[in-house]
């Protein structure tokens, strides 16, 4: 599994396309049989408690793409705070198992693992 992370609109989709995946390969914020998942944070932010249980299905993917949501002022709303933590912790576990972790900054991919 390749984990692709970076801020919103940092070039993650273009990077995934450069790996050869087309629109038909990509599930956007839903877990199904397609090999690429975009917007993992759309699954974890509304349901922080359910986030750890997604792990087994996510490591079966070829590519998992997630926004980095842990920066900025710590939110006042508890759900958002827990959502950021749960997203970050899940990404830590995914990064540990991933063959490769790529971080996008301003469209530039940096391989930070693998």
């Amino acid at each position: 599994m390749i984990l692709v992370i970076g801020a919103r609109a940092s070039g993650k989709r273009d990077y995934v396309a450069s790996l050869g995946y087309g629109p038909g390969d990509v599930a956007d914020g839903v877990l199904d049989d397609r090999p690429v998942l975009y917007n993992l944070q759309d699954l974890t932010m509304p349901d922080p408690e359910g986030a750890p249980a997604l792990f087994d299905r996510l490591i079966e993917k070829e590519v998992v793409v997630c926004d980095e949501v842990g920066s900025g002022v710590i939110p006042l709303e508890k759900e958002r705070r827990l959502g950021r933590e749960a997203t970050g912790r899940l990404c830590c576990r995914l990064a540990k198992e991933a063959e490769k972790v790529v971080r996008l900054v301003a469209g530039i991919p940096t391989v930070i693992k693998g």
């Binding site: 920066s71 900025g72 710590i74 705070r81 950021r84 970050g88 990404c91 972790v101 930070i112």
Partner: protein, 173 residues
């Protein structure tokens, strides 16, 4: 040696900080700065405590005034985290505010002089564009300036991303 660790929420800073401390000999002090505001912070404090329980840390609770901490000399201090310390020094329970920059700079330097090694954990709070109150923006500014000041004078700086340490300055360990 002085090491600064930065990164967002849930990016593995505490785990990495503790693995760094374990590379240094005993004694190991953990300076805990978090004020408890109920169940959520209690859970976080308990999680951090459990991580440290087998690692030979002595915990020092110090929500403010870290310059007053007395240490016998030598050893390694892990201070977690600068974001809490900055908030605690900046805002009191009565709603008063003061600029914490000079005091924190002075007191963390003084703490560093009392040990062989200091590992300081901070957070990147400036990377969003929400419409915060003026006082929250002053907090973001203060912490950003402190991060830059400590990064400039410390030996080593890492950013944690998904649990992966990215070396931004100095020699890795």
């Amino acid at each position: 040696m002085k090491i600064l660790l930065t990164g967002g929420s849930g990016c593995g800073k505490s785990t990495f900080a503790e693995s760094l401390v374990m590379k240094f000999p005993l004694p190991r002090w953990y300076v805990a700065t978090m004020r408890s505001y109920g169940a959520e912070s209690e859970a976080k404090i308990a999680r951090h405590r459990a991580m440290r329980s087998t690692k030979g840390f002595e915990t020092i609770e110090s929500q403010t005034d870290v310059g007053k901490i007395e240490l016998p000399g030598g050893g390694t201090v892990l201070l977690e985290c600068l974001c809490n310390l900055t908030a605690n020094e900046m805002f009191d329970d009565e709603g008063n505010e003061r600029d914490p920059y000079d005091k924190i700079l002075r007191e963390v330097r003084s703490l560093a002089e009392k040990a062989d090694n200091l590992i300081l954990v901070t957070n990147d709070v400036g990377s969003d564009a929400e419409a915060y109150s003026d006082s929250t923006l002053r907090y973001v500014d203060a912490l950003g300036r402190l991060n830059a000041a400590f990064a400039s004078e410390f030996d080593t700086v890492y950013e944690l991303v998904c649990g992966i340490p990215l070396l931004l300055k100095g020699e890795g360990l």
